[in-house]
């Protein structure tokens, strides 16, 4: 590196960093605004000029959430649903992926092709009939519809199949020679190896369930069964003020758990979402 100041290069760097910083600010600003609004008093929210950080920031909105909206119960609902849904999906998708990756059986190509084909069907088409099925099963306003129908999904199986394919066959053959049962092989050999992949997939599923809105909107009706997105939306007031500060507080609460999970498992997260795109 020469010590000479290289203007074109400097300008170049300024532009690049400028762009990165600019975009980053655009990305972060809404979060910041959510947080600052949640700490404001109700009449500070719509002011000219806008108040960046209120001088008397307080936690009133959060307290209100805890008392009036049972936010901990809602948090629990969201967590329970997302966990159960993810667990179910991981079980079935890893099993299915293993079956397709490591076995030969009659009709396999056709079956797998069919599975891929089902990914085309958009939720919109099955939304209405699925709703009536849930009604007939008496599952309206319960958690089951948010966990069971999507338990074995094509994307997950596809992902797992890719992942498991790269495991050497010898491992399984050796185990079979040793007399292990098929299910035992799955449990003791395959599962530990695919743990990273399971984590990545699990993160995607968890986040998807946590943030989902349309299907819970259709299914869940009582306040005590709401998930976080539903409770945020329930705060829009047709009559009376929309309690924006409380709404923003709920928004913050809905984001923080995912944020923590994301920050801790960043690498797996990225792995999960790029898997479908890059490998193709």
């Amino acid at each position: 590196m020469t010590s000479k100041l290289n203007f074109p290069r400097l300008l170049n760097d300024i532009l690049l960093y400028g762009l990165l910083i600019g975009v980053s600010i655009f990305m972060i600003l809404p979060f910041f605004w959510m947080l600052s609004t949640s700490l404001k008093d109700a009449d500070e929210i719509f002011r000219i000029p806008p108040i960046l950080i209120s001088s008397h920031s307080n936690l009133k909105a959060y307290l209100y959430l805890a008392q009036e909206y049972n936010i901990f119960g809602v948090l629990k609902n969201t967590f329970v649903i997302a966990s159960l849904a993810t667990a179910a999906q991981l079980v079935f998708c890893s099993l299915g992926g293993y079956g397709f990756a490591k076995f030969k059986f009659p009709g396999k190509t056709a079956l797998f092709g069919f599975l891929l084909g089902t990914m085309i069907i958009p939720f919109t088409i099955i939304m209405v009939p699925l709703f009536f099925i849930m009604r007939d099963l008496n599952w309206i306003d319960k958690f089951q519809p948010l966990i069971i129908p999507s338990a074995a999904n094509a994307f997950g199986i596809f992902f797992m199949r890719q992942y498991i394919s790269s495991i050497e066959d010898e491992l399984m053959d050796a185990a079979r020679i040793d007399g292990a049962s098929e299910f035992g092989i799955y449990r003791r050999i395959i599962l530990p190896i695919i743990l990273p992949g399971l984590t990545s997939l699990g993160l995607i599923f968890f986040m998807s369930s946590w943030n989902s809105f349309l299907w819970p909107l259709i299914i869940l009706k009582s306040q005590e069964n709401f998930t976080l997105p539903l409770v945020i939306r329930s705060m829009i007031g047709p009559v009376g003020r929309t309690v924006y500060d409380v709404q923003m507080a709920a928004s913050i609460i809905s984001i923080i758990p995912l944020l923590i999970i994301f920050l801790v498992f960043q690498r797996r997260f990225v792995e999960g979402i790029t898997a479908g795109a890059v490998k193709g």
């Binding site: 806008p50 089902t118 074995a152 539903l230 790029t274 795109a277 890059v278």
Partner: protein, 313 residues
């Protein structure tokens, strides 16, 4: 590592006798067991609903009482449904508003981050990706506050730069752009990351080889890197296209006052229209027909896109 099938009918060799087939099936009871849950679930929660909704699309039903068969009436009614076609148009407009810009920006950001020149790779990547984990209800309502014509931060900043205040949520085009802003904010990071991953699979040697061959950096980029990135870019664009039609929560939250319609229906999306017909007007047959027409159009669009994009080789 797709193992070729033992019993592939395309093979020239004659199919094994029945007894072998049966034996193979029995021998394969474990993999059948492992993969069967998917098909069982699909039967109950996929196939049956699809069949039922096809049937429903030819009927009229309020959810209570008899299901009346009315033939193609729903579909002919759909032809004249301004709101539905407006929603499809909105999807097209939205696509042009945000997809080119977002894809380009994602690519540029990915390239910048991929080059070893920039420090703080992890930090920037995290910051830019963060919106992706947000639920769109929270995001939509936050944007409502930020884009408020009178009190919103954005118009305030505009004012500082002596730009006029924009009616983001209160005008036809402002509404569309607002939705585009929200969607871009949400997905830019995701698209950037998959492009990053794509870039990282391109070995440096290829680029260096081009440079050695006398190309300048820009040429190397456009003639070597970009073509190799084509699959990823295509993937991103296809997803974004589906995204611009598949919106529900974003519009529903951003335009919560008009239940997702936006000013003069400028922001309504097909999903919102279908949801409204079903769970607002209780017209379940009509909503089913609408969902099929929507599906057909999207499917055709996606096919076209992949064909067209893929052909330029």
């Amino acid at each position: 590592m797709l193992e070729s099938d033992v019993l592939s009918p395309s093979r020239k060799s004659p199919a094994p006798p029945r007894s072998h087939l049966w034996r193979d099936i029995v021998k394969a009871r474990w993999p059948y067991l492992f993969v069967s849950p998917f098909y069982l679930f699909f039967l109950a929660f996929g196939l049956y609903p699809v069949a039922f909704s096809i049937y429903l699309s030819f009927t009229q039903w309020k959810g209570n009482g008899p299901i009346r068969f009315i033939g193609l009436n729903n579909y002919s009614l759909l032809l004249h449904d301004n709101v539905f076609w407006q929603s499809m148009l909105n999807g097209v407009l939205l696509f042009f508003i945000y997809v080119p810009i977002m894809t380009l920006l994602a690519l540029v950001l990915a390239v910048i981050l991929n080059s070893r020149r920039v420090r703080g790779f992890k930090l920037f990547r995290t910051l830019i990706f963060m919106p992706y984990i947000t639920n769109m209800v929270a995001a939509g309502f936050t944007f409502q506050i930020l884009l408020n014509e009178k009190y919103g931060l954005l118009n305030y900043l505009f004012g500082i730069f002596h730009l006029p205040a924009v009616p983001w949520l209160e005008s036809v085009w402002g509404a569309r752009i607002s939705l585009g802003l929200l969607v871009t904010w949400a997905w830019l990071g995701y698209n950037m990351i998959i492009m990053l991953a794509g870039l990282q699979t391109i070995p440096n040697e290829l680029n260096e080889a081009a440079l050695i061959d006398g190309a300048n950096p820009q040429q190397a980029f456009f003639l070597v890197t970009i073509p190799l990135l084509r699959p990823v870019i295509l993937f991103s664009v296809v997803l974004s296209t589906m995204g611009s039609f598949n919106l529900f929560t974003e519009g529903f939250a951003l335009f919560s006052g008009s239940r997702g319609h936006g000013p003069v229906n400028s922001a309504i999306t097909p999903l919102i229209a279908i949801y409204e017909q079903a769970f607002g007007n209780f017209k379940f047959g009509y909503a089913s027909a609408m969902s099929y027409v929507y599906f057909a159009i999207i499917f055709a669009l996606t096919l076209l896109q992949v064909r067209y994009f893929g052909r330029e080789d």
